[in-house]
């Protein structure tokens, strides 16, 4: 159960290998990778990711603990980058390892939903016409609702 903040890129295979660590009780590994997506008109130059050092680790750690208490997981990982990235670059990843695929899928979606709205990250977009902070989406906040029944 690991949380890591870093400026540099990561390799999904290397992270997955470290997560599994040669164990043979895992049947399902789900990974999610968030990537800097260009705008339809190609106008995005770069994305700048700011975070709140200290709180970020705490928030991600408690989201991960919540996932562990809800699903039967063998291991999980959150890696999130900060700083400047260009379109096509990896921003972050989560990985969940479980005996069965249902647990791995549900926990990965849960981690993403909470990370989106409850972990202190902010994105600023630099485009050909200026720079602006990305607005939070109402659907990201609403997405948390679907986990409430299981609480």
């Amino acid at each position: 159960m690991t949380v890591r903040l870093q400026e540099e890129d990561f390799d999904v295979s290397v992270e997955a290998e470290a997560l599994l660590g040669g164990r043979d009780d895992v049947g399902a590994l789900v990974t999610f990778v968030g990537i800097v997506r260009n705008r339809d008109d190609g106008s995005l130059l770069s994305l700048e990711l700011e975070h709140y050092p200290g709180m970020t680790e705490k928030a991600l750690g408690s989201i991960e603990q919540e996932a562990i208490s809800r699903w039967s997981l063998n291991a999980s990982l959150i890696v999130h980058r900060y700083g400047k990235m260009i379109p096509g670059e990896r921003i972050m990843m989560v990985a969940t390892a479980a005996g069965h695929r249902r647990d791995a899928f549900a926990a990965a979606e849960f981690l993403m939903d909470y990370l989106k709205s409850r972990a202190p990250f902010w994105k600023k977009e630099h485009t050909t016409t200026g720079s602006d902070w990305v607005d939070a989406l109402p659907e990201d906040e609403r997405a948390l609702g679907r986990w409430a029944d299981d609480a």
């Binding site: 709140y52 989106k116 202190p120 607005d135």
Partner: protein, 89 residues
């Protein structure tokens, strides 16, 4: 009624809150009892603060690195942070 003791709190700003106020963090001495009272205090300082805190619905607050609300009491609080809704992932 206990008189409100003066206390020192580290206040941090992120994303457009940081940009509007112009600094990432500062030590604030206050006798405010709640986060909301402190916000009203800060808002009267100057236009930058007034603008930054003008729409509370679009501001989130963390008390000692935990998401919290404007009604939270300031007793024993060491670190406060104000920022827009989060957009990670």
């Amino acid at each position: 009624m206990a008189s409100a003791a003066r206390k020192k709190i580290r206040v941090m700003y992120f994303a457009w809150m940081r940009e509007r106020i112009g600094i990432p963090a500062e030590m604030v001495e206050t006798s405010a009892l709640t986060v909301g009272e402190l916000v009203r205090e800060l808002s009267t300082r100057d236009d930058r603060y007034a603008l930054a805190f003008s729409d509370l619905a679009s501001i989130r607050v963390a008390v000692d690195q935990e998401l919290s609300g404007f009604g939270h009491a300031l007793d024993d609080v060491e670190e406060l942070a104000f920022f827009p809704p989060m957009t990670g992932g």
